[in-house]
């Protein structure tokens, strides 16, 4: 755990430094300026944090709602044209996002989705959904649907079967794919910039502009805020990534 947090020490030092030039090992002058700006009344950081959270959580939720039935179809059944469908699901990862986003932008403008929060969520689904579907498909590949038939026969209705049989079985997969979805959406820059059109400002957008301006203290402070939620999610879900409850095999224990 210490090893995991060690890389963030320089960021922490940068964020509270005022003067830090080579060859000093620690900053020569200290300042709370960066943090003061971040939590200041005119700060753009907190609204951006809010936008980022809302977008990432909404994207995660929608992608899982899509991913469960799609993953079930891909993992559990064999049907004609399955390899074509598999390719189409993977296509958004293969095709450069810029090429897609330009076309989508025009469509979104027509439907009034450009420069809006729902528009950004929709466009984030493009890179996120393939990962969620792939993970859910691998979960369903090891899933025995006979358990559902057994539960039906014992008196469970379709809703009860999902609640008591399917959901507990696929929960590790939902959590892992949710983590992927959250992190991909959380760190998305290009698509947010294009579709958000400067109206929807998320943390990565701020981060890039601060990094561009060369203010190291502010960039470091923002980076820490940016990394925070991802770390929290990772820690919360780590028991599903490794060990006995792992949704994805072959990863061992952290």
């Amino acid at each position: 755990m210490v090893g995991l947090l060690l890389p963030f020490l320089p960021l922490l030092l940068w964020s509270v430094s005022h003067r830090w030039y080579f060859p000093a090992i620690i900053p020569t002058e200290w300042s709370w300026r960066a943090w003061g700006y971040v939590f200041g009344t005119n700060s753009q950081v907190l609204p951006a944090l809010g936008y980022s959270l809302i977008i990432a959580l909404a994207t995660t939720l929608v992608s899982i709602i899509i991913g469960i039935p799609a993953g079930r179809a891909m993992g559990l059944y064999r049907f004609r044209g399955q390899s074509v469908v598999r390719f189409l699901i993977l296509a958004p990862i293969i095709v450069p996002p810029l090429a897609v986003a330009m076309g989508i932008h025009i469509v979104f403008i027509r439907y009034g989705l450009a420069n809006t929060l729902p528009g950004v969520v929709l466009v984030h689904l493009i890179p996120v959904t393939p990962y969620v579907v792939l993970i859910m498909a691998s979960v369903f590949a090891n899933y025995n649907p006979e358990y559902e038939a057994q539960a039906r026969s014992l008196g469970a209705g379709p809703g009860q079967v999902f609640r008591y049989i399917a959901l507990p079985a696929i929960l590790p997969g939902i959590i892992v794919s949710g983590l992927f979805a959250f992190i991909i959406s959380w760190s998305e820059y290009l698509l947010t910039l294009l579709i958000g059109g400067g109206q929807v400002i998320t943390l990565p957008l701020l981060l890039f502009s601060f990094a561009n301006s060369g203010d190291n203290a502010l960039t470091a402070a923002l980076s820490l805020i940016f990394i925070g939620p991802a770390i929290i999610f990772l820690v919360l879900t780590s028991r599903y990534l490794t060990g006995r409850h792992a949704a994805v095999g072959g990863m061992g224990r952290l």
Partner: protein, 356 residues
């Protein structure tokens, strides 16, 4: 106490060239144990799942006490199926598994706890509520699966290969348990098996299926005494088939002329069959229904002895290999190469049609 009628039940899987179940009509008596028997892939599990409501038939009807249940979903059908690999839910304890059906029906926790305890006692596993399924042995898991099905008091109990995953000594135990609870609740029970011995020891009635089609339906002994075809006879261990020509109560065969009493077929070409245990090698007195033969091989089986005997009737006729089972002592009386007389008692001879 429910009578189950299957009427011209047919199931064709999409992409399958032949129907999995074809025009299956059966009346399954109330409060009895009926076996659906057949080799793997004969459609018996499909038929069972149709009764459970888990597979919709393409044609035909299923009646419980004269009323169609085709429109009833599986959870309301009260025909509970216990699957082949017992399928205990791995994320639930033994108690939660057994109580699952009651929980789905909205029964109160206290009642469930009480009934689960009663059920565990019934299947002779008292006090194991808190265990996880993977902590149980195969035989214990099978009994938990049975308890889980019984607790909802089904009208019809459906079992898929209930004994197949068990060791020989557990089979007997499980068999007794199934018959015990079946009689206690007077349950109409249908089970599926590929093992004719399992069907014989457990069932009151056997329905034999080949390739989705009903071959013969009746109590176990008719499959030994009166099989309807050579395939049915072979499935139940029949090995002796002698081609012949039937005229009245006489059959002319390469081994000579034989008398038979049971004669359900019309005159013409037939196959004469007799079970190995019904041929007698010590035919001192008898002079009819007798064939000549030479012992070809013998195997001592502990409780009995099994011989292969080459029977012939003159050099111009082809010899026929017959198998004979005698009491164990026979192995000392008849040695390989010895000439013997085979007596085929008329009342033990059965005729099946020649298959084209």
């Amino acid at each position: 106490m429910t009578r189950v009628d299957l009427q011209r039940l047919t199931k064709i899987y999409p992409g399958g060239d032949a129907p999995a179940v074809h025009q299956l009509s059966l009346t399954i008596p109330t409060g009895r144990v009926t076996a659906l028997l057949g080799p793997s892939g004969c459609g018996k599990t499909t038929a069972l799942k149709m009764v459970a409501g888990l597979i919709k038939p393409n044609e035909g009807d299923i009646l419980f006490d004269g009323e169609s249940v085709l429109g009833t979903p599986p959870e309301k059908r009260e025909a509970v199926m216990a699957f082949q690999h017992h399928l205990l839910f791995p994320h639930m304890s033994v108690g939660e598994n057994i109580g699952f059906g009651l929980k789905m029906r909205g029964v109160s926790r206290a009642t469930i706890r009480q009934q689960v305890a009663d059920m565990l006692a019934l299947v002779r596993l008292p006090g194991l509520e808190a265990r996880r399924p993977h902590q149980l042995s195969g035989g214990q898991q099978q009994r938990v699966a049975l308890a889980r099905a019984l607790i909802v008091e089904p009208k019809v109990l459906l079992l898929d290969e209930p004994l197949s995953n068990l060791d020989a000594h557990l089979r007997g135990e499980m068999r007794e348990l199934i018959l015990d609870v079946q009689q206690r609740f007077n349950l109409t029970t249908i089970f599926v098996t590929h093992d004719q011995e399992e069907a014989v020891v457990l069932a009151d009635q056997i329905a034999l299926l080949f390739e989705g089609q009903l071959q013969q339906y009746g109590p176990p002994h008719v499959f030994y005494d009166r099989p309807l075809s050579e395939r049915v006879a072979r499935f139940f261990g029949g090995v002796n088939f002698i081609p012949g020509h039937k005229r009245g109560e006489q059959i002319e065969t390469p081994l000579g002329l034989f008398q038979c009493q049971a004669a359900p077929l019309s005159d013409g070409t037939v196959l004469m069959t007799i079970r190995p245990e019904n041929i007698r090698l010590d035919s001192n007195g008898a002079d009819t229904n007798v064939a000549q033969g030479r012992v070809n091989s013998s195997v001592y089986m502990g409780t009995h002895a099994r011989f292969k005997i080459l029977a012939e009737n003159g050099a111009d006729r082809p010899p026929i290999m017959l198998e004979v089972v005698t009491p164990a002592a026979g192995v000392n009386r008849f040695t390989v190469g010895q000439t013997v007389k085979l007596h085929l008692p008329p009342d033990k001879i059965w005729l099946v049609p020649v298959e084209r």
